[in-house]
Symmetry: C2
Subunit: 698 residues, 2 copies
């Protein structure tokens, strides 16, 4: 059967409509679940309002940033407005950039809307047992997952159809990723400021339980789960998904230009659409089995999605003339390696495995040993994932190289598309986490009793565990995406070189001192960026801790839990909001401006090295920080479950220190690095025409 583009576009539209339809059904289902506990409603309302306030303020600032960026893009990209090519391409580029930011913002907004509706209902469903509570939490997450993936596919499709040019897709992707970078950074700083402060004063100093309503930071903590984990993560995965499609499309378009057809472009869209359909099926089948194990339910629906995707794409390869089995193999390799990375991550962070137990045991000798052993195992944990990404890139490349010139890089891009094909499922699982985390808090604050809290705890712990597997996919996919973006960058360089009449380039030699120069500086950027975010959390948390101390000191009866006495929750939310917004812009600008600075100093070769240095150190630090953070969190939970002396022991105190260090590692800096790498690659690719002409050196 011929794989003409209109047919493939129709398949995409069917997938998008199915996703949106199912989203609407699930959202309606969640809204219909009972919600009649007044205390829970009251607190859930506070959380929703806090989250909305933060999002409104954040989006106001980001809108200004986006406006400035859009004007700069309009003036300079794809070629300076005075270069004589007319203003239409520049206008298109600026508009698609704005469209990217708007889509990304909407994705975050939808996530917040459903998460703040699902959290209270999950808590109340937990009174009836784990099965119904799981379903509410999971379906809430699925609304987010399907909405994000549906809208990313729709957005890319619309941009390409309206604009007719893959460089507009890069502009769209840049819009999405620049917003995601700020959303991740801002949300990440907000959530950890609140979490760290609430824990340190509440749990460590006063010894009151987690989520105790007397703690002034408790609402801010729950708001943080939403704005950091739900909205930030949604924007992040929206961006990864768009970037992987964009880089595959840029390469596909140049390949199709040579052969005259559109078969490669058709493959990209077809795989994306089938991935979305596979996610719908996976989500629809998710429910807790007879064993009542939520971890198994989440993982098994991930595996169902994977299998369905492989079967559907195999079917498409059989059905459509010109679809290549080699490309199918590349995307299958991507998926498989994603699973392997996930399993390796799980080994380092799961508390039923030896590593967590060793860190818990080392905690008996004091916090320094918790920190040292966690950092050491965090370093070690990077190895399997780095090998996994390296092997999958090599395998995809070798698989597709025989298809002809340029197909090898297309293979890597399709391996990334393969890994991200199940992104709908990944987001569902990831959004499930903060929903049940919130539900646990609401169950505590609503006084639903020990048994309900225990159920919420079990749901929460399953969320933490499955994160390991999904994180394997997202880090692996980011690695492959940026490699293929490097390929896209090189083809943009050659287009620009042809336009200004100089010789093109064939690669970036690490022995070229300009490449090497870029590489060393590029490698330092992820470290600098992480440092800025962590110092942001540090500064902010100091302010919030002072505020919590003030409230406990000045509000009479608060510490004793006197009836009717309530802390000033909004003061803490304000501190987290103002601080996060103050810190996010400088960190984001470092990423964009350092790329431009290296480019305008060292030229296109320096940028090539810069991106590679950035990819390498970004992946390494991201794996290290995410895994070390997860490891410390679970070591603390393991001790709290009664091992190594249990709650209140010296080991527990040490483990709390480890967890506090790990919080900004795993929820602020670590996961922002993926987005950082993507943004820098896109900045480089988009500004290539300017950098090729204007640079001092090289």
């Amino acid at each position: 059967m011929s794989a003409n583009l209109p047919l493939i576009y129709a398949i995409c539209l069917i997938a998008v409509v199915a996703a949106f339809g199912f989203t609407a059904y699930l959202f309606g289902w969640v809204k219909k679940q009972p919600s009649n506990n007044r205390r829970i409603e009251y607190v859930a309302d506070l959380i929703q309002k806090g989250a909305n306030t933060f999002m409104r303020k954040e989006y106001t600032i980001l809108a200004k940033f986006a406006a400035v960026a859009a004007i700069a893009i309009f003036v300079f990209l794809p070629a300076p407005i005075w270069s004589g090519a007319g203003i239409v391409p520049n206008l298109k580029m600026a508009l698609t950039y704005i469209a990217g930011t708007v889509f990304s913002a909407i994705a975050g907004k939808i996530g917040i809307l459903v998460a703040t509706n699902a959290n209270g209902r999950t808590a109340q469903a937990a009174k009836d047992g784990i099965k119904p509570a799981f379903l509410v939490g999971f379906r809430g997450g699925a609304v987010m997952g399907l909405a994000v993936v549906g809208s990313s596919l729709l957005g890319v499709l619309l941009v390409l159809l309206l604009c007719g040019d893959t460089s507009c897709v890069l502009g769209f992707s840049f819009g999405a990723s620049s917003l995601a970078l700020f959303a991740k950074a801002g949300g990440g700083i907000f959530t950890k400021t609140a979490d760290v402060s609430a824990d340190l004063v509440g749990k460590v100093e006063l010894g009151i339980p987690e989520d105790d309503p007397r703690n002034p930071a408790v609402i801010a903590d729950n708001v943080g789960d939403n704005v950091g984990d739900v909205a930030g993560m949604g924007a992040d995965l929206f961006d990864s998904n768009v970037a992987s499609m964009a880089s595959a499309m840029v390469i596909a378009a140049s390949l199709d230009q040579v052969t005259g057809g559109a078969i490669n472009m058709a493959m990209v869209f077809c795989y994306a659409a089938l991935g979305l359909l596979a996610s719908i099926i996976g989500i629809a089948t998710a429910k807790i089995g007879k064993d009542g194990n939520p971890t198994r339910a989440l993982n098994s629906s991930t595996y169902v999605t994977t299998a369905v995707f492989l079967a559907l794409t195999a079917g498409a390869t059989l059905l459509f003339d010109g679809f290549s089995w080699r490309v199918w193999g590349a995307s299958a390799v991507g998926l498989l390696v994603g699973v392997i990375i996930g399993i390796a991550t799980d080994y380092f962070t799961d508390d039923s495995k030896p590593i967590v137990k060793k860190v818990a045991h080392a905690s008996q000798s004091g916090p320094a040993f918790t920190v040292l052993s966690g950092i050491s195992y965090g370093f070690l944990s990077s190895l399997p994932a780095m090998i996994g990404i390296a092997v999958s890139a090599l395998a995809a490349y070798k698989l597709c190289a025989p298809l002809g010139d340029g197909y090898a890089m297309f293979g890597i891009a399709m391996a990334a598309v393969g890994m991200l094909s199940i992104v709908g499922m990944i987001i569902s699982n990831d959004a499930y986490g903060p929903i049940v985390d919130n539900a646990r808090g609401l169950a505590e604050m609503g006084g639903l009793g020990e048994e309900t809290i225990a159920i919420a705890d079990e749901l929460d712990s399953a969320g933490n565990t499955v994160k390991a597997v999904t994180k394997g996919f997202s880090i692996g996919a980011a690695g492959l995406t940026v490699i293929s973006l490097l390929g896209a960058y090189m083809s943009e360089v050659n287009v620009a070189a042809a336009q200004i009449g100089v010789a093109g380039i064939t690669g970036f030699d690490i022995l070229d001192p300009v490449v090497f120069f870029g590489m060393l500086i590029g490698a330092a950027i992820p470290a600098v960026f992480s440092a800025m975010l962590m110092l942001g959390v540090d500064r902010n948390a100091q302010r919030m801790i002072a505020e919590i101390h003030r409230q406990f000191r000045e509000i009479r009866g608060l510490k004793e839990g006197k009836e009717g006495v309530e802390p000033q929750y909004d003061k803490c939310i304000d501190i987290a909001t103002v601080g996060a917004l103050r810190e996010l812009i400088p960190a984001g600008l470092v990423a964009i401006l350092s790329t431009l600075a290296v480019g305008f100093i060292g030229g296109v070769h320096a940028i090539g090295g810069f991106l590679m240095g950035n990819i390498i150190s970004g992946l390494l630090l991201s794996l290290f920080m995410s895994n070390a953070g997860g490891l410390w969190d679970n070591a603390k939970k393991y001790i709290e479950a009664g091992h190594e002396g249990g709650k209140g022991s010296e080991a527990h105190k040490s483990a709390v220190v480890g967890d506090t260090v790990g919080d900004p590692f795993k929820d602020t800096a670590g996961p922002s690095l993926n987005t950082l790498i993507t943004v820098m690659s896109l900045v480089a690719t988009l500004f290539t025409p300017l950098i090729a002409v204007w640079h001092i050196f090289g």
Copy 2:
């Protein structure tokens, strides 16, 4: 004047003889200093015996390793023994390898000998004031510095003259660096095991002062200063110095082959000899000025050495026909950037600068904030050094590129030689540190009184401060050396390619998936290696802490300091020794075997990427860990000087946790990474002929 090789060799010999003569004079001078406090003599003797025992055991194990390695080299390098080229080249290679290990071992041994003689005398000289004490400590360090540099120049010269082949110099360098890797790792684990355990039980749990003779680990701690900082560091800088000469010589030889002369080789030897002479002059002029400031005395003699070296090499360039000003410029750039990196490091780690104060202030909120802010600033501190190395490599390359094909890489190699020209001075300063650190301990244990301890403290603190500047040189030089080794590696690959009749290579393209594959895995190795060393310290310290607890529990009157009751110091020394020796071999093997594995899987291109990934992440992690460790150490000292609540405050307790985390960062893992990178580059270069023929993939 014609720069013929015999003349240059004569200059080298003069420099070597001058260095050895001056060494002998200084050693005699140190030995003549009064030493008549019986208690100090007793303790100094314990330290010396402990150090000698460890060194003997370590060298016994390493001799076995070296024997196995020498046999492997004999069989396989430079070509398998059955390849028909005769056994003479293989025998030469194996013998030069053994010579490298022996020279390195002797360098370590001399260091221990003089350091253990100078420590007690420095303590006793401190009774007469800071000036005489400084001179004893500094001259003790200088014996080490001049002996190491003199013997490295002599060794390289002898190997080249006897062997007539630069690849034998690589073999010599590999011998030196493989031994250095194990010596650094073993010594680093020993010293931090003892230091961490002594501090945690003594200072934190029992509240007894540092270096209190009741502490069973106190002698082990002082032994650690010698075997880790003196012997390990001596072997390390011996190796860096040899490696920088070796890589410059390999490139010089191939350049000279083209032009038919020996002018480039003459330049390498001439610069090395003049660097040694400059160090002698710098050392001879070192004394404390009227202000009584030891920091200024140490730094000013470093600057004297730098200026003398620049003047001497400028003179040589004027005098000798064919010496290029461009090469002089490259080595001057190297020196200058070394100074800049040092100043930047100083900014992040000196307690009169804002960063240390910020970390000390953050400590008030608890240990998690000490750790988080230290890690963040450690990350930030990597940026200036990475930029410095990048800029110096680029500048040296651009300066020398006009000289002709291949000269650009020679420029980078000579920038490294320039940076390391003052290595004699660097080692003197570095060895001064542990000598005065020991002297402080001996003054405490010998009961020399508060005033003498205060003088020893001031000398000690100066040692910590100047370390920042010298560390700038050694990390920068390692970066430049390994880049030029990468150049040397490529020329070896092309020689091997010509021999087996395949096309040579022109570089390593980062978009080549095999290069990329190597790069990702290479980037993970420094993290894995650091983790193994730190876990080694962690495990070992747990054992030693248990032993210290046991002694305080079982030895009656020990805690109370009853007259005549002494702890069992040797038990602690044993634990540190056995543990360090058990951990060092696996970590060292990871470096060598991973290089070979990647090579035999992915071929020469994979190795190119592997080395580059390794360089990038090695430099980044080394800067991060060294600086974060120094920062925590000084933040603790800053608090102990009475700030933020002073000794015993909550901030102090937090700072002690930070310092404990920082100890293995800055003295075990961080400084071993330089050596790791060098060893891996040499393994790759030496095994090129085999890898070019035998590899699975690529």
